[in-house]
């Protein structure tokens, strides 16, 4: 007699950004189907920005996602600047990277402590951990507060910053604020290192071990960072950002408002671990030492290593922000903004959002957006993520369904998906 299997369904994956579920269908010969249902409604960002004035379009793009609104703002602004043929001064670029790092610190701290850690410690959510894990929750809040405050000061607020505009910033903080920022970053460093230590102890779940192609931005100036004009794949391929469409193809899948992406016909991964896989050679300072000492845990073959990679980046970016602030202070006073002439043109910006490669391609005609293509890290990751959930399910479909559900969710959480982000992909 045939066994009776019920589909294992998670309607709403908790502790991620956005709304999505998992469906696992098991048959007699094992796992038949695994689907990540992205049920967050469509918001048509590219479509609604078409024909709009550039500055107004730049104001709405960050609203794609709150967890990485600074990433969206800064990438969109750079694409628009490239389109009109404007390059910001070095000190403006440095300050923008500091703002971006604020987002990175906040996002990584939030993801690691509040979204990921509860699974490992046996809690359903961080609110229940407060009594038992006072120190960890305290560090999470301190790091997230630091990141938010950096975005407040440089971006006007922690979510949906309006202070970044084409040509520079609306206004810059006083020199004393940057000095305080430096001091606070220095104080945060031991907390970032504690986070890394903590995450070296977590399980890697070898069930999902296998070859993964990683894609990341090739950092400008060969220093590990956020901005870059080339994309780099772990198969050795390197290409200019403008050529992204020649290598990465997107397609609509029936079970998701977010599209899937393939690199040369196959799923691939982006994110903190992908950055390390491709660019670890450009690390420096304490993070480099930690990387060398824990290489074996930061495995290219395991998506769970993304958690530890984020923890390493907390250390790296804290140090990096200090250096960038020093560069800017050496040139103080800094003029906040240059006049930008809005000419016609096309620009592509690729940056490293907390969750991985973010692409903005914008065309400007008569001061208005005439083409917009935005591809977010989560949209890049979905196909690979689905494959990893399948690998987990294939090993555990005979276990207690509750256990399988948790493991499937943990795979998804390791990717730190931003589902709101993922549902705005355009094909024109």
């Amino acid at each position: 007699m045939k066994n009776l299997y019920l589909p294992i369904t998670i309607d709403h994956i908790a502790r991620i950004e956005g709304k999505g579920g998992v469906e696992i269908v098991v048959g007699d010969d094992g796992v038949k189907e695994v689907k990540l249902n992205i049920i967050e409604g469509p918001r048509f960002f590219e479509a609604i920005s078409l024909g709009k004035k550039v500055d107004e379009a730049l104001a709405i793009y960050p609203r794609i996602c709150s967890f990485c609104s600074a990433a969206h703002k800064l990438t969109a602004v750079e694409a628009a600047e490239k389109a009109v043929g404007f390059t910001p001064r070095e000190e403006i670029q440095a300050l923008r990277e500091v703002l971006y790092i604020g987002d990175m610190i906040e996002s990584h701290a939030l993801h690691l402590y509040l979204l990921v850690l509860p699974d490992y410690l046996g809690y359903s959510g961080p609110l229940h951990m407060i009594e038992e894990y006072k120190k960890e929750i305290g560090i999470a809040l301190d790091l997230k507060n630091l990141g938010s405050w950096m975005m407040d000061e440089l971006g006007s607020r922690a979510i949906h910053q309006e202070n970044v505009v084409m040509g520079g910033f609306g206004k810059l903080p006083d020199k004393s604020v940057l000095e305080t920022m430096k001091k606070r970053l220095k104080e945060a460093l031991p907390k970032a290192e504690y986070t890394f230590e903590l995450f070296t102890k977590l399980e890697q779940y070898e069930e999902v071990e296998g070859l993964i192609t990683h894609i990341a931005v090739k950092p400008r100036g060969d220093v590990y960072g956020i901005y870059g004009d080339y994309l780099k794949a772990s198969d050795g391929n390197e290409f200019p950002s403008e050529e992204y469409k020649e290598h990465i193809k997107e397609f609509v899948v029936e079970h998701s408002f977010a599209k899937h992406s393939h690199y040369h016909g196959k799923p691939f991964m982006v994110g903190a671990i992908s950055r390390l896989v491709n660019n670890a050679g450009t690390l420096y300072g304490k993070a480099k030492e930690l990387y060398e000492a824990h290489k074996d845990l930061l495995r290219a073959t395991n998506p769970f290593a993304n958690n530890l990679a984020q923890a390493l980046e907390l250390v790296y970016f804290t140090e990096r922000a200090i250096d960038l602030i020093d560069e800017v202070l050496a040139k103080w006073p800094v003029k906040p903004r240059d006049e930008v002439e809005i000419r016609d043109g096309f620009g592509v910006s690729t940056t490293e959002a907390p969750r991985g490669v973010l692409v903005y391609a914008l065309k400007v005609e008569n001061g208005r957006v005439s083409y917009a293509d935005i591809i977010t890290p989560t949209a890049f990751n979905l196909a690979m993520m689905e494959q990893h959930v399948r690998m987990m399910a294939e090993k555990h479909y005979n276990d207690d369904p509750e256990r399988l559900k948790l493991l499937a969710e943990m795979v998804v959480r390791a990717y730190d998906p931003c589902l709101s982000c993922s549902v705005h992909v355009a094909r024109l």
Binding site: A14, R15, A47, I60, R63, A158, G170
Partner: protein, 265 residues
């Protein structure tokens, strides 16, 4: 309320950027609230969330953007004593309503081509379109103090009051130079609900109206449209800007049309 005296709270998301929840989650003040509250549903932070259970206060973020979400808001309403719409998406339909007058089909084709998806998409709409909303927290995202004020008053059994004056007022009180009159930029401060302490104009950035237009018919879209027109903006440009966060406002077009159609105001 629970027998243990705790207030039962649910935080629900429709289609949005999750920024209102993130703002809420990022408040250290939450820690003070926790001993007196039972978090029944909050998927962003709690795996053990229950979407369909009675709560005292339901906070809803996001616009109604799928048929499934229409059903969800109705269920939330049935199970909640007080419903609070949180943020510009839930209150005003959000930036995703910017092109609400285009057909859904056209927008769909631009983004998804001929692809089909098994869920039913809809043009984004405010929560109030489908259920009774008891209170609104404005902003994209709301200010932290908006949450503190709303929760504080609801918990003591009182009622949070709306602000009925514009961003302009806060801006003048802070002594910022005027982005509209002195720099000639299309600032929406004069029609936008205050409460942000004129955050953007303080950075020299024109207000884009993220808290939505002031209620009680106090938002004078017509007067502002006249100023914009004098500065050389066309009717379409004025409407485009005012619609970023106000596309569902029933007064907007009528008032702006007045200025351009020569009707005596």
């Amino acid at each position: 309320m629970e027998e243990n005296g705790k207030v039962r709270i649910g935080f629900y998301a429709l289609t949005s950027c999750y920024g209102c929840q993130l703002q809420f989650a990022m408040m250290d003040e939450i820690l003070q609230l926790l001993p007196n509250a039972e978090i029944v549903c909050w998927y962003m932070l709690e795996r053990d969330s229950k979407e369909i259970e009675p709560v005292d206060i339901a906070f809803i973020e996001g616009s109604v953007s799928t048929e499934e979400e229409v059903e969800l808001v109705k269920k939330i309403r049935e199970n909640a004593k007080t419903v609070v719409a949180v943020g510009s998406c839930a209150v005003h339909g959000g930036v995703q309503s910017w092109e609400k007058d285009k057909s859904l089909d056209e927008l769909w084709k631009t983004v998804y081509g001929d692809g089909t998806v098994k869920f039913q998409p809809k043009m984004a709409e405010p929560v109030e379109k489908y259920i009774k909303v008891d209170y609104k927290i404005y902003g994209c995202p709301p200010e932290k103090k908006d949450f503190v004020y709303a929760i504080g008053t609801l918990l003591i059994g009182s009622w949070p009051e709306d602000i009925d004056y514009p961003v302009c007022l806060e801006c003048r009180l802070n002594g910022n130079s005027c982005v509209l009159l002195e720099k000639g930029e299309p600032c929406l401060g004069p029609v936008t609900r205050a409460g942000c302490n004129a955050r953007c104009p303080a950075y020299g950035i024109a207000c884009i109206g993220c808290r939505g237009a002031i209620g009680y018919d106090v938002a004078w879209f017509d007067s502002l449209a006249r100023v914009f027109r004098e500065k050389g903006l066309t009717k379409e440009e004025i409407l485009e800007r005012m619609k970023i966060f106000n596309a569902h406002n029933p007064k907007l077009e009528e008032m702006v049309n007045k200025i351009f159609e020569g009707v005596k105001e």
